[in-house]
Amino acid sequence: MKISFPHPSLLEDWKSGLYSTGVTEPWTQQVVAAILTASNKYSVLELGTYLGHTTVWLADALKYTGGKVTSVELDPERCEAAKERLTNCVGGDNWTVVQSDSLAFLREQPVGAYDFVWVDDDHTLSHVAEEMNLLLDRNHQIVAKGGIVLMHDVIGPHALGGICKRWHGTILDFPKLGTDGGLGVIQVSDL
């Protein structure tokens, strides 16, 4: 099957096997970017930059709409590597990589700060559950009304699908590169 990549360097990483180290599957990245393009969202948050591959997809999709992606990563070295990747692949000024613990970062965010969130960092249940609480708690909802939260790896041993379902999300099951995969889609009420 032909797999699309927004930049040749991502294709090179695919050929070298780098995607098998935990990078989101390229077909899932393509769906995420397509949903972003179709859903009219401009303020994007990524939790878990890792190597910046999905960040490139998000920033590339936002080039046209004028939106911006903020990506949060705990590891300083990964942050620097992602910044270099984004500079080379996307350029421009529609992305920011923040070195921070994602929970600490979320606790600083105002209500309605983001309308599109991609969750793909620490996969422990307690961590993801707390992230979702911070993002979607009606008393301080960081995700704007009508917003979308997409979760990676909702199918597999980490059992994140239960959290997705708890927030009334829909699970799409795509082929996996590792033990976990799939895409959770949570839609925030616009009421």
Binding site: M1, I3, V31, A34, A38, S39, N40, I171, L172, P175
Partner: protein
């Protein structure tokens, strides 16, 4: 931003010939599917293909209501990339002829064809020919938008969707009862409010509903 510029997607997903066809046919204002929505369907076809070692049936894409072929061509392109078969259905001879000609012109006939017929019965008839065990991997519903017809298509064609397959609906936003009909059957559905609908305020309807058949 004018209406035409709003659809200037990246060439990666929207070939120039298809972009030109879409604009010539009148775009969303003439009822054609928004390219952003077609792009989501395209990416779902690519992503939702099961692993070859788990699935030995033909990978099959079906669309009801081809019209000008705006989405049919995207799905046909995806079918070509995913080694799938696309079948489109329309009751209008002109649509069938025009879209099959587009497939011929762009080397898509090995993976795609449009048939004349009224869904859901025409779809049932096709699968009856292909034998038991055949199933649909992605079905895009975009023909008669009346509530009774949508319900008939849902009830009739849902059994043909393979576990893990996707049934998608156009025009879940706007004056049609599509969203209400589907929501009466399930809450487990994604509703995309498409970009053109919000951004231009000109298109009276649009959006995409995505419903996945559970595996268990």
């Amino acid at each position: 931003m004018n209406h035409k510029d709003a659809y200037d997607l990246r060439g990666l997903f929207w070939p120039d010939w298809l972009k030109e066809h879409w604009h010539k046919a009148g775009g969303s204002l003439n009822g054609l599917t928004e390219p952003t929505v077609s792009q989501v369907l395209y990416s779902l076809v690519i992503a939702n293909k099961p692993s070859d070692d788990l699935y030995h049936l033909p990978y099959t894409i079906v669309e009801t209501g081809v019209y000008y072929g705006a989405t049919a061509c995207w799905l046909a392109l995806a079918a070509k990339e995913a080694d799938a078969q696309y079948y489109g259905f329309d009751v209008l001879n002109d649509s069938v002829t025009m879209v099959n000609k587009l497939f011929e012109d762009h080397d898509l006939t090995s993976n795609a064809r449009v048939l004349r017929g009224s869904a859901p019965q025409a779809v049932i008839d096709l699968f009856a020919q292909d034998g038991e065990g055949c199933s649909i991997d992605l079905l895009f519903i975009d023909d008669d938008h009346s509530g009774a017809h949508v319900e008939d298509e849902y009830r009739t064609l849902w059994p043909l969707i393979r576990p893990g397959g996707i049934m998608a609906f156009h025009d879940v936003i706007g004056g049609f009862p599509i969203w209400e009909v589907i929501k009466s059957f399930t809450d487990d559905i994604v509703k995309l409010v498409s970009q053109p609908f919000n951004q231009t305020g000109q298109a009276p309807f649009g959006g995409l509903g995505i419903l996945r058949k559970p595996v268990d």
